[in-house]
Subunit: 239 residues, 2 copies
């Protein structure tokens, strides 16, 4: 019996990888779904570089076929931002729990996910991929507008109007946000089941010079609560 | 009599400025509409740098309040592209006239306008602008999918979902594409009426080492036909 096969090659995906817990889990999910994964990170002028080191280690450990770091300075020095992630603004600590309509905090970087997805789209078109994965989350998040399902849907629609690949009928772009409805605890349980080594990841907005996490910024608090919810402890170092 | 005024300051606009004929005209239109204009250009690894010099001269001559060049390498060397604008691929010359559904040429840069608009959005949010101008044109164009009205509309929708400024009710983003339905001749007549010095602009995809235009690539052919249609001659140097 002869099987008719259109292609022996796996589909390719572009995975936005920050080096944090969420995007590491997303890379594991994309690998588990059988994609050849191109990991993409940004050196955007973030104050702390530990996350780019983490991204490299995570991409290697999960078997991405490559890892590319795009340089695009979004700091205030380059005319952008005024964000606590890129500039000398104090990172908010010990914020009250976010409710239904959390305020947008000082760590917001203007249009960051739009910019990252746009570059991922150009990269996907270049490598012949129609699948872009990102780790946005609308449950345990910090109130960023570009983490919501309606944002992801609007970007997918744009992608299919913007590109030669889609408008010439070669395929349709899909923006995958597999974590969008998960709690942080669910994300961690999913990643652990897929073999993510969370000791390689970095989430803290305000680490010390050794990379040790503060435990008090939004990112640390969400992360720690997630590990508690998942019934295990966080393997990264806190100061 | 006392006039009640909410603000004595003009609205700000971000204007994508390539250094070409179209975007120079757009900057003149935005200035004429009374905006304080922030001109934004990209050093994206284009093979020829004359257009960045032109952008600077055009921004100065038309009275933009500033001009910023963002570095973001979209060349094949950086993992992107395979475009005749960024790589050693021959620029198409003497192509037949484009019809209703022109093919997408080798000068296409994957997702370029999506990326440029995304960065412009982040910059607009930073400077407190809700108005972004770009010089796309769906009439005398080269067949790029990201120059069509449906693309511009989809980006505007995205912008209003993606940003803190829009989702917190401070305003709504408007993507202005004032040339989109104009012929090249109309664009040139409009610019001349507004005082654009087209001798400062640069359009050619394949200039010689002095910057002289080839006269045969898509950009030159559209430009030359436009000046003929406008009843005047092109002030730039051809070889």
């Amino acid at each position: 019996m002869v099987w008719e096969m259109t292609s022996g090659e796996k589909d390719r995906a572009v995975v936005l990888l920050s080096g944090g817990l969420d995007s590491a889990t997303v890379l594991a999910i994309a690998q588990d779904r059988g994609f050849l994964c191109h990991a993409l990170s940004f050196d955007y002028g973030q104050r702390h570089r530990f996350e780019l080191d983490s991204a490299r280690l995570v991409a290697q450990s999960l078997g991405a076929i490559d890892h590319r770091v795009v340089r695009l300075d979004l700091s205030a020095a380059a005319g952008f931002g005024h964000s606590a992630l890129t500039d000398e603004i104090e990172v908010p600590k010990d914020r009250p729990e976010t409710g239904e309509t959390p305020e947008i905090p000082a760590t917001y970087v203007p249009a960051r996910n739009t910019i990252f997805l746009s570059v991922a789209l150009g990269y996907a078109e270049t490598v012949g991929s129609f699948d872009i994965f990102l780790g946005v989350n609308a449950v345990d998040y910090s109130g960023y507008p570009d983490c919501r399902p309606e944002f992801v849907e609007a970007f997918e629609k744009l992608a299919n109007l913007a590109t030669a690949a889609a408008t010439q009928g070669e395929g349709r772009f899909k923006i995958h946000a597999p974590l969008i409805e998960m709690s942080k605890g669910q994300i961690i349980r999913t990643g652990l089941a897929l073999g993510v080594d969370y000791s390689l990841t970095h989430s803290c907005y305000d680490p010390d010079e050794t990379g040790a996490a503060c435990g008090r910024c939004d990112a640390c608090r969400l992360r720690l609560a997630g590990f508690t919810d998942a019934g295990t402890s966080d393997p990264v170092k806190y100061r």
